[in-house]
């Protein structure tokens, strides 16, 4: 595999004097092959890192756009094992590819087996939405044994102690949730993002990606001024959902949006 850890993508962006663009889509949305096609389009048009969402029945952190997409994937028969095929296809592009997931599907699959299978298909690591490093899961050990990134989240409400504890347990990058709230594109980005990134950077040399709310190049440029990575999810999902009847048009719109965002992180 060309890119095992997300660190390589962040390093390259840093060399180019810009932020990395990180794109998220749920696995299996709109279909298994459709999600692979879409993520490849995102890489071809400027995403440096891909997050593959693992659809889950009870996504407490997701807003309506992503929840509906995940629900569609599940109704279309998505199975956990499908995520490995999707990661393999996307990682083959050379973009570091992580899985973003809620915990129960991983635990049910088997924590060690999940880590081994993810590493086996060239996956870079895991972003865990509903567990923190101090949750009792066994993920740290499984990830370390398989040389996988461990991306935990920090939030505006995190205390200094928790930010330090979280970043000390991260590998690859740190995911800063810029707003208090669920996922979803927003008209304006949060003024909580800057201070959170500063507080996070004070505790670690790892890159910090900012997520939740970005939907266009202008917002990406704004975040890119202070963050190492700009994470976009709902906006991509919305574009695909809006073109549900015409997948080709959906991919084209996705390419346009990705190029806008990629230009944003380069301003």
């Amino acid at each position: 595999m060309t890119a095992k850890s997300t660190a390589s993508a962040f390093a390259r962006a840093r060399e180019e004097g810009r932020s990395a663009l990180i794109g998220y889509l749920p696995a299996g949305f709109p279909t298994k092959q459709g999600s692979i096609d879409a993520m490849r389009v995102m890489v071809e048009n400027g995403c440096d890192v891909i997050e593959v969402g693992l659809p889950y029945s009870d996504p407490v952190m997701d807003g309506p756009t992503i929840q509906a997409a995940a629900q569609t994937a599940l109704e279309n028969g998505f199975r956990t094992r499908d995520v490995f095929d999707i990661v393999e296809a996307v990682a083959a592009t050379g973009a570091p590819t992580l899985v973003m997931t809620y915990w129960n599907p991983v635990e049910r699959y088997g924590v060690d087996k999940f880590a081994a299978d993810l590493a086996g298909v060239g996956g870079a690591g895991l972003i865990t939405a509903d567990i923190t490093p101090d949750s009792v899961t066994g993920w740290d050990e499984a990830a370390d044994a398989n040389d996988l990134d461990k991306v935990y989240l920090v939030a505006p409400s995190s205390t200094e102690e928790r930010v330090a504890m979280t970043t000390a347990n991260c590998r690859g990058f740190v995911y800063a949730t810029a707003v208090m709230g669920v996922t979803g594109a927003r008209d304006s980005t949060s003024d909580l993002a800057g201070p959170l990134v500063a507080r996070t950077k004070a505790t670690t040399d790892l890159p910090v990606g900012v997520g939740l709310g970005v939907s266009n190049g202008d917002q990406a440029a704004e975040i890119a001024k202070f963050a190492d990575g700009v994470i976009v999810g709902s906006a991509f999902v919305r574009v695909l959902a809006e073109h549900a009847d015409d997948p080709a048009a959906g991919l084209e719109a996705l390419a346009v949006l990705t190029r806008d965002l990629a230009a944003g992180v380069r301003r």
Binding site: S57, D58, E107, A129, T132, S135, L153, R162, V182
Partner: protein, 415 residues
């Protein structure tokens, strides 16, 4: 209040419990844990809580010897009359505790989730009492089958939001309330409705509900000079049950029965018997037994009782089941409805369908209890709520609501 049955400092009861939550909520859960522990050590808080329960909620609730029912089933059946509490269920204990804590923490708004509506009504009541804004999330399916309770919440000044996602029932209402909480946690408290969820909710809800068992134990000793041979309570998430069980955990001779909603039967795919049929997993912030498929996706549960229709269960119940201290048995919809009718007609008490599960389960274990303990065998059944809210379901189930001569005319015409 420390006992060997308490959770450890990470919120685990043995293998179950803990905290599996987005980082955005951890600070709020830490704050809640610290404030709750401080409050429970504060005599002024405890005194105010006890005053509220006594003067407003109407506790201690009666422990009533159901003599006609007892004669019929051949054992002494005692009913813990939580149905006589203000708002008609045990739920008022939990919400008055949590709302009092909310005031103490200086927050101005509460949110809650509800299945049958009992917790929503209790939350709306407490919010009105304390002058707090209140939003209640309820699965859309449940708003339809519990319209009267929706109206009660609105009458009390609460906003009721119908949740259309997922299975549109209690678990989805919890998801939606958690989402709200992530965005509003600076001024909002989440009045969790059952002894499930992330630490400290399972412990906190248990402590606010433990009066059910503490009172029962004392009343039984006082009225009959002995402890019961068994206690029984229904288990959805398990707040009324853990409230009852806690007092008896150290009384090794007292058998403890949790009755789960067996729906159409645990051999079908339409039930909510989580301990009986679920497997260990993580749902709504805790490790517990979960009804899930082989990929860890939550399976939609079914029960005739919206209040028990939940695919998870409080983690202490999971622990009590695994260690064998309590037995958890399924009760079908039919068995519960039969018990509802039996109690109505022998004692003039119409129980909630939730509580009817507890009674139906007690009726099933009584023969063994009598065989072991003799005809004086004594069982306390927690009558956790009253059945007014369930009359719509009862009307449909039993074909009620028309005068008896109309019914017989219809039957005549059908022949």
């Amino acid at each position: 209040m420390t006992s060997r049955h308490d959770a450890d400092e990470l919120g685990f009861f043995g293998d179950f419990g803990g905290r599996f939550m987005p980082e955005a909520l951890v600070a709020a859960l830490d704050e809640l844990t610290a404030e709750w522990e401080a409050a429970m050590a504060d005599p002024a808080f405890i005194g105010e809580f006890e005053r509220l329960l006594r003067d407003y909620a109407g506790t201690p609730s009666k422990l009533y010897h159901a003599e006609r029912l007892s004669a019929q089933v051949g054992a002494r059946v005692l009913l813990k009359r939580e149905d006589l509490n203000h708002t008609g269920a045990h739920k008022i204990r939990n919400v008055m505790g949590q709302a009092l804590l909310t005031k103490r923490m200086g927050k101005t708004r509460v949110i809650a989730e509800t299945g049958a509506g009992q917790h929503g009504v209790a939350s709306a009541t407490a919010a009105a009492y304390f002058g707090l804004d209140c939003t209640v999330y309820m699965g859309k399916v449940d708003t339809e089958r519990q319209a009267l309770n929706v109206a009660r919440m609105q009458m009390l000044g609460a906003e009721v939001i119908a949740v259309d996602a997922g299975s549109a029932t209690l678990k989805d209402a919890i998801n939606e309330a958690l989402r709200d909480w992530v965005a509003s946690v600076d001024h909002t408290a989440y009045l969790f409705g059952t002894a499930a969820g992330p630490h400290p909710f399972p412990s906190m809800v248990r402590e606010f509900c433990r009066g059910i068992g503490d009172e029962s134990r004392e009343q039984c000793l006082e009225q009959f000079g002995r402890l019961p041979d068994a206690v029984a309570a229904c288990v959805g998430g398990g707040s009324n049950a853990i409230g009852m069980f806690t007092a008896f955990l150290d009384d090794e001779d007292v058998k403890i029965y949790g009755l789960e909603p067996g729906g159409d039967g645990v051999d079908t795919d339409r039930h909510a018997a989580t301990i009986w049929a679920g497997e260990s997993g993580v749902l709504h912030g805790a490790r517990t037994y979960v009804l899930q498929d082989e990929d860890g996706q939550t399976i939609e549960s079914h029960s005739i009782s919206a209040g028990l229709d939940y695919p998870g269960v409080g983690p202490q119940h999971a622990h009590l089941a695994k260690t064998g201290r309590a037995q958890y048995l399924p009760v079908t919809d039919t068995e519960a409805m039969d018990a509802m009718a039996l109690l109505a007609r022998t004692e003039g008490i119409i129980p909630a369908i939730e509580s009817s599960h507890a009674l139906a389960g007690a009726l099933k274990v009584i023969p063994d209890l009598v065989a072991e303990k003799g005809p004086d065998a004594t069982i306390i059944v927690n009558l956790s709520g009253r059945g007014d809210k369930d009359m719509g379901t009862a009307i449909e189930w039993f074909g009620l609501g028309r005068s008896n001569n109309e019914q017989s005319n219809t039957e005549e015409n059908a022949k």
